[in-house]
């Protein structure tokens, strides 16, 4: 139901502007690759494990190639060539690489034809495998069924994957639909993906393939028990965006937090690096049928949610264009927004509702990710619990899809078992008790809510016009988003950006392109 009387022309205009904003970046992206993109490609080919110094094999290989100054041709090429030339398996290559003097790019033998054919065949198989996993998920979801939207999303963050499993299964029993395993603090700044099961993380558990697997199994087990499909989420933003996307596809995750803007603004990751990484990661995610979650909600933790509401909307338009260009369907775009206004504002709830409803109407097919109040949470857990209740209400009143649960202890610690229980209980009560309220109310024409939404849309259009003028990189430098300034030359990871050579070859890029073009 459309309730806000928004001007469709303005929405269209915003989309156009966002398209124009994204185009030049997209051009830059196409002509570059990164160490992480290349490691992701290797992972797709099955490269995994660590060497004797505990360095992950994808890093070992890419560093090897990069040190030889030959990454611009694509890591797959050199690996493929070495495998055929030496007629060996991956473990053989790993073994050779233990010798620091071994240079994988120096292996010769196979012809370009042979390498290309080998890579194409292999890539085809890998993609078939991913398709298989995608189908498997789909049928499991159909078999078990899912909870009602808004789906209840909670985090676990014990730092021990086995502890996380207990928390996650208990949460599922209590009614959670989606489980996110929070990463160890600072993992997004690591230029590699840790290996193996984690039992001691800081404020979270490392995103590793093994951890993904352990949790996926645990959730499938509990899902079968309770007869409800439980989704698994992890974080792909950061320096290893594409690799984690691959891991997510392999281990059958359902969603990944995935947003270059988030990394730039909140992790000080170099923008060039992460835009490139984002593109390839989203190609994989699109193919694997996962949902991305974007991070616009975070803007409101540093800038004021009333004043800067339009920056969230403007960024959603931009993110949508980036996503479309990477082949994501609207139904895979969990665009982020948040309930972050100062609770002491008169009629603040009306503004929140306007914002949430607006996002719903502008992105009707997107499984919006709605974030709870966090910034204005304080140690008064009773008040905090109430605030979450009002957030839950706003969500069901505006038909949100992916609903992150607020915790009454948000200002204190990562959730205890009981915090999560109380939070789920809160959401279940509020949402069930007001289930069809949204169908039963209309907003007064020209009233407070409508005017607020219209104002925010106007401001977003104005902002997009400005960003289109300066370009998104300059706009970021000018603190347009989240009041944070980052420069194209600053931040972490720029050294991992490599201009593609003319003969750069990444079999997946091509195949994925084909896949999307023929859809």
């Amino acid at each position: 139901m459309k309730k806000l009387d928004l001007d469709d022309k303005k929405i269209e205009k915003a989309r156009e502007l966002a398209g124009k904003i994204v185009s030049p970046v997209q051009e830059f992206i196409s002509s570059h690759t990164t160490v992480s993109v290349e490691r992701a490609v290797l992972r797709l080919f099955g490269v995994d494990g660590v060497n004797r110094d505990e360095i992950p094999m994808p890093n070992v290989i890419v560093d090897n190639i990069n040190n030889a100054g030959k990454l611009s041709k694509g890591a797959a090429w050199w690996l493929g060539k070495a495998l055929i030339s030496l007629d060996c398996t991956l473990p053989d290559i790993y073994e050779k690489l233990e010798d620091k003097k071994f240079d994988i790019t120096s292996v010769n033998g196979a012809s370009d034809e042979e390498v290309r054919e080998f890579l194409d065949t292999q890539a085809g198989e890998v993609l078939d495998e991913i398709t298989g996993k995608r189908e498997k998920r789909k049928s499991l979801k159909e078999k078990l069924g899912e909870g009602k939207e808004p789906l209840l999303y909670v985090i676990v963050a014990t730092g021990d994957i086995y502890g996380d499993v207990v928390q996650a299964q208990a949460a599922a029993l209590q009614g959670a639909d989606i489980i996110a395993v929070i990463r160890s603090t600072g993992q997004s700044l690591l230029d590699y993906v840790p290996y193996g099961a984690t039992t001691e993380g800081y404020g979270g558990t490392y995103a590793t393939q093994e951890n993904f697997r352990i949790m996926r199994q645990a959730l499938d087990r509990i899902g079968n028990e309770i007869g409800r499909y439980v989704r698994l989420v992890n974080y792909s933003s950061g320096l290893c965006m594409p690799e984690i996307a691959v891991m997510g596809a392999m281990e059958e995750l359902d969603m990944l937090l995935n947003d270059a803007m988030y990394g730039i603004l909140f992790r000080d990751i170099n923008m060039k690096r992460t835009f490139i990484d984002q593109y390839f990661s989203r190609r994989i995610i699109a193919f694997a049928g996962l949902i991305i979650n974007t991070g616009e909600d975070n803007y409101l933790t540093t800038s004021d949610a009333v004043e800067e509401a339009h920056t969230v909307l403007a960024s959603q338009f931009i993110n949508e264009q980036f996503a479309l260009r990477a082949g994501l369907k609207p139904s895979q775009m969990g665009l982020g927004h948040a309930f972050e206004m100062d609770p002491l504002i008169e009629n603040g709830f009306l503004m929140e509702l306007a914002q949430a409803q607006m996002a719903r109407e502008i992105f009707p097919e997107a499984p919006l990710k709605y974030m709870p109040p966090t910034k204005h949470k304080i140690g008064n857990i009773f008040f905090s619990h109430l605030l979450d209740g009002m957030f839950n209400l706003a969500s069901v009143m505006s038909n949100q899809s992916i609903h992150l649960l607020g915790m009454m202890t948000e200002a204190i610690h990562t959730p205890f078992l009981q915090d999560r229980f109380l939070s789920i209980e809160n959401a279940k009560y509020v949402m069930n008790n007001t289930r069809n309220l949204s169908d039963d109310i209309m907003f007064v024409k020209g009233g407070y809510i409508q005017e607020r939404a219209q104002k925010v849309l106007d401001e977003a259009v104005r902002m997009l016009e400005e960003v289109e003028q300066t370009g998104v990189m300059k706009a970021i430098e000018n603190k347009k988003f989240a009041s944070v300034s980052r420069s194209p030359g600053g931040g972490k990871g720029l050294e991992g950006v490599v201009a593609k050579a003319k003969d750069y070859y990444n079999p997946f890029e091509e195949k994925l392109f084909q896949f999307f073009n023929c859809r």
Binding site: N380, I381, F382, T409, I412, Q418
Partner: protein, 250 residues
């Protein structure tokens, strides 16, 4: 939870991390002194790693605190003493069948919410037809004759009724517990029953939101039922206890 611990502590997100939440008010102006008092108190309660996560003034020299900390105390699970009223939980039909078989006649119960206590909902939930949460009340059992005297009933009147209808069991409800008024009320009932020489001839049951099996035993009742009690719990207990006293069960 696979692990079975013998000595346990509260759990936040790691086994035996001891996580506990407190809230309380102190008669001190909000400020560093009051915060220090909150910290001190929490420590005296056995908390370590105390965080006074919230404090605010309540006016007139009071302040409010929310505290999280890790509790030192361990509980030895195996040494815990608790009273479980021992009886087989039976469903509606089973109870009727059981009474027919083991007692061979209808059971009579008289109940009331006594003293100045005017809360009828609890005793009604147990005794009236309608029952509680879809579980039918004692009145509906074919093998039970139930007399519900309502609320604000004097102990003397309840006993008179029990004598009049020759009750096998007396059911007392107590909801208001302010200034421990329920304790004196409940003790008083037992005293009169004993004075009348009736105590051993009836099954004496008490219920209410603050009643526990342990408290009931302590006060000289045969059983106590707390929040969420269903009529079938009470029916099962009475039927079983009567059979047991007759020697039909042990």
């Amino acid at each position: 939870m696979e692990e079975k611990l013998k000595k346990i502590k509260p759990y936040g997100d790691t086994l035996n991390d001891g996580a506990v939440q407190l809230s309380f008010t102190l008669p001190l102006e909000a400020g560093p002194r009051a915060d220090a008092a909150a910290l001190e108190l929490s420590k005296k309660m056995g908390l370590e790693d105390v965080h006074v996560v919230h404090s605010n003034s309540l006016g007139l020299g009071f302040s409010f605190f929310v505290v999280y900390g890790k509790c030192r105390h361990l509980i030895d699970v195996e040494k815990l003493k608790f009273i479980e009223t021992a009886f087989p939980l039976m469903e509606f039909d089973e109870v009727n069948r059981y009474i027919r078989m083991k007692i061979g006649r209808k059971i009579t119960v008289a109940g009331a919410c006594t003293g100045t206590d005017a809360h009828t909902v609890g005793i009604d939930s147990i005794m009236n037809m309608k029952g509680f949460h879809g579980n039918p009340g004692l009145e509906r059992y074919s093998e039970i004759t139930a007399y519900n005297m309502g609320s604000q009933v004097r102990n003397e009147d309840l006993i008179a009724k029990a004598i009049e209808v020759d009750a096998d069991a007396i059911l007392v409800s107590q909801v208001v517990t302010q200034k421990d008024i329920h304790l004196s009320n409940l003790t008083h009932l037992v005293d009169i029953l004993e004075a009348e020489g009736m105590r051993d001839n009836v099954i004496l049951v008490v219920g209410g939101p603050r009643i526990t099996p342990a408290l009931a035993k302590e006060l000289g009742y045969d059983a106590g039922f707390g929040p969420g009690t269903l009529p079938q719990d009470v029916a099962s207990f009475i039927a079983y206890e009567m059979a047991r006293r007759k020697g039909g069960e042990s």
